[in-house]
């Protein structure tokens, strides 16, 4: 037996549970999914005193053991299933010193499950500012537990917490109150029918709709006498139970906690007066968004230029160092390195975007935006909570769609899921950036560059498309669902550097490696398709071109270029592009862009990598993608291929089209049907085609 114990971190949202997890595990953590569902599973390893290792699992935040969402039911399923490999040896309940009363509700429920239970009081650094003092000895005695007072912000008490976790065997498993008093007769009957089961566990199974160990539920349903309680009766009992628990907690805190209000300084009130103000609240929100886009655009240009030139010289270096490598050297230099360069270059921007999103979340500001936007969003059939998916959708639609789970009404949630892919995700960013830099002039107005403003406009178009289609869906969809809306307004906090840094690192890594695999594979396939072709035109290109231009006095370089481009045109990829060209010519695109669009249906970010591969196959010099694209000529109309009209058309196509297989897969999972992702794909792509067509025809 290895000396490893299972520790589960449980707590209300906004108690700093994840900070505790980060403080305990540092970089020894990984993020995955619970099997079969898309709830994020965070686990890590922590070394405890005396050589004991702890496997720590950071469970989703929940206010109680009465689950109302998939995320919350994960917590209960784990706590009720002793056979789960992650079943905790000790449950660590994380609470926030300012919301102790509410946090203890969950604590008393977990105590009733008779699992060894340790109470962590976090954010102790705020105690003095809020005038709070705790009588730890008294609380430990009343709550039948040990208490660790810590501050993740000041990094205080962490070692002591580890010590206490390692002493888990000394923790009491006695419940701290008797909740069955709410209906003694009923609970007695229940216990008599199942003498070997824990009463509170039975009660949870009866009152929950979630599925924990099907057999338990069936056993209880099989005994008819326990169906005597109607849903309404059960809910009244749950209310009684909640009141009972609060009575106990109030009594305990009356002696165990003193709050001297005269000592309390109230930053929250002052900030809320401005940040949730009827006018200033919206103005500030708008300026925060504006700053984010300006930052993404301006601050990332330096590292991006550096990455761009590094990959260009790396590709060149490979070619010069291994000149005899033939096809293999070509594949590495032109297929793989250009393809990867096309994705690595966007790391700075993606990291900045996640940096801002995680700061907004961590500081508590995001809840204020939910509050401000709810009424407006509701007009479009959305919820104020839809603002979080719509904003995180600017990073990636996949986590954004998963973030819709806390929207209570199914109709509002479905509409949010369906429209979120319109928001400008980070995979669109590479496409936008390169095209904007080609077709939008440099220059500034009021200190803001035209290019940054165009980018902001594209984000607004995405947002507008999402909201507009939500409005239509709200009229069209006939779904009746109960709506209620509760959102916690957490305290304002200065975001912890460690939390923000870990989020940025983890999300950027997921993006790069997730997308990187697809991009690498597609780059290789494209390179092969571009390097081989059927028939005389491809295989005999040298002779055909030499003869054709024999009369003209071409330099060797010019001749080589003509040959290369003739070859590309008659390669497999060229033929494919030619085949679809009639469909996309009215949008202002040539067959090369056509190929890039087709490969984008695997994932949008492939666009740039694809063009990189196609163009560097077409020529041998070290021009980077952008310069290469600027030099492309429209074969029919003459003039640059990427001009204002075709550029705008392309931008709009990418703004509306549904080009992400992973998103479709998530939508299928979350709506549990192929119907919604199919609608999404067909309708979004049709809109994209029509809008791109109209814009090119008007602007050309």
């Amino acid at each position: 037996m290895s000396k490893q114990i299972n520790v589960a971190l449980i707590g209300n949202p906004n108690t700093g549970k994840t900070s505790v997890f980060n403080a305990l595990t540092g970089l020894n953590q990984q993020v995955g999914n619970y099997p079969g569902i898309t709830v994020e599973k965070k686990e890590g390893i922590c070394k405890l005193p005396r050589g004991v290792k702890a496997h720590i699992i950071d469970l989703p935040g929940t206010y109680s053991l009465n689950a109302s969402s998939l995320d919350e039911s994960v917590v209960i399923e784990l706590l009720l299933n002793k056979n789960d490999k992650d079943f905790p040896d000790v449950a660590v309940v994380v609470s926030d010193v300012e919301n102790l009363k509410r946090n203890l509700l969950l604590f008393t429920q977990i105590k009733d499950l008779e699992i060894p239970c340790l109470l962590v009081v976090n954010m102790a650094d705020r105690m003095r500012r809020k005038g709070i003092t705790l009588d730890i000895g008294y609380l430990e005695q009343q709550l039948e537990t040990k208490i660790a007072v810590i501050s993740t912000r000041k990094n205080e008490g962490i070692e002591n917490l580890k010590q206490q976790i390692s002493n888990y065997k000394e923790l009491s498993v006695k419940p701290c109150l008797n909740a069955s008093e709410i209906d003694t007769e009923y609970f007695n009957r229940l216990q008599k029918a199942f003498p070997n089961q824990l009463l509170y566990k039975l009660w949870l199974v009866i009152t929950q709709d979630v599925n924990f160990g099907k057999t338990d539920r069936k056993d209880i349903d099989a005994i008819a006498s326990f169906k005597t309680k109607s849903k309404g009766d059960l809910k009244r009992l749950q209310q009684k139970e909640t009141i009972k628990r609060y009575q106990f907690i109030n009594n305990v805190l009356k002696r165990g906690q003193t709050i001297d209000i005269t000592q309390a300084t109230d930053v929250r009130t002052k900030l809320d007066r401005i940040l949730t103000h009827k006018i200033w609240g919206y103005v500030i929100f708008f300026f925060i968004l504006l700053t984010i886009f300006q930052a993404i655009y301006d601050w990332s240009s330096v590292p991006m230029d550096w990455i761009d030139s590094s990959f260009a010289s790396l590709s060149n270096w490979v070619k010069e160092t291994f000149p005899g490598g033939g096809k293999v050297t070509d594949l590495i230099a032109e297929g793989i390195i250009s393809g990867l360069g096309g994705i690595v270059i966007f790391i700075p921007q993606i990291a900045f975007l996640f940096l801002f999103i995680s700061i907004l979340e961590e500081s508590g500001y995001m809840s204020r935006v939910v509050f401000l936007m709810d009424r407006i969003m509701r007009r479009f059939g959305l919820s104020g909570k839809s603002i979080v998916p719509l904003i995180s959708g600017t990073a990636c639609a996949i986590p954004a769609i998963m973030a819709t789970r806390n929207i209570e009404s199914w109709k509002e949630r479905l509409i949010t899921i369906l429209v979120t892919p319109f928001t400008t995700c980070s995979a669109r960013l590479p496409v936008y950036l390169i095209i904007i830099s080609l077709v939008i002039p440099e220059g500034r107005i009021l200190g803001l560059s035209y290019q940054a403003l165009t980018l902001m406009l594209l984000y607004l178009i995405g947002f507008g498309a999402a909201v507009g289609s939500a409005w239509i869906l709200n009229k069209v969809l006939k779904i009746k669902s109960k709506t209620f809306f509760v959102v916690e307004m957490p305290n304002y906090k200065v975001p912890l550097f460690k939390n923000v840094a870990l989020t940025v690192l983890e999300k950027t890594k997921a993006f790069i490696f997730g997308a990187g695999k697809i991009i690498l594979a597609i780059s290789i396939v494209l390179w092969v398709l571009a390097s081989y072709g059927p028939g005389e035109q491809f295989n005999n290109a040298e002779n055909i071109i030499t003869e054709q231009y024999a009369a003209q006095d071409l330099t060797e370089d010019e001749l080589q270029q003509k040959i290369a481009s003739h070859k590309l045109e008659h390669s497999f990829i060229g033929l494919t592009g030619r085949a679809i060209e009639p469909a996309i010519r009215p949008l202002g695109y040539d067959w090369k862009i056509g190929i890039a669009i087709v490969s984008s249906f695997a994932a949008r970010e492939v666009f740039v990598g694809t063009l990189a591969t196609i163009y560097s196959v077409g020529s041998d010099d070290e021009e980077t993608i952008k310069n290469r694209m600027a030099g492309e000529v429209n074969p029919i109309l003459g003039g640059p291929l990427f001009n204002f009209a075709s550029g705008i058309s392309l931008l709009l196509f990418y703004a509306f089209a549904m080009q992400c297989m992973s998103t479709l897969a998530i939508v299928k999972k979350e709506t549990n049907s192929w119907k919604w992702p199919t609608y999404q794909f067909v309708i979004m792509t049709a809109i994209a085609y029509i809008v791109a067509l109209l814009s090119f025809q008007f602007l050309k």
């Binding site: 109680s64 109302s68 309404g232 009827k278 509050f371 709810d374 009424r375 959102v487 916690e488």
Partner: protein, 77 residues
């Protein structure tokens, strides 16, 4: 006249007297919205909806449609 949370003005306080359990989600009760607890209206969004409340020390926002089902006694200061 029977008051509900909707009748509070910004900054005013009350004590919850009754919540209709059929119409109020359990989650709200668990966050402290129970008879006997105090409630303060911290802020209102435009069109008085949603309402930003301090209930028993928990800060949360709910919609007007929910708030009309929470009966209170106003506290005059």
């Amino acid at each position: 006249m029977q008051h509900t949370i909707v009748h509070l003005k910004r900054g005013e306080k009350g004590v919850i007297t009754d919540v209709s359990s059929e119409l109020i989600p359990l989650k709200l009760l668990e966050m402290g919205c129970l008879p006997g607890n105090f409630v303060e209206l911290v802020q209102v969004a435009p069109f008085s909806d949603p309402l930003y409340l301090n209930i028993n020390g928990s800060h949360l926002a709910i919609r007007k449609e929910t708030a009309i089902h929470i009966l209170i006694d106003k506290i005059d200061e």
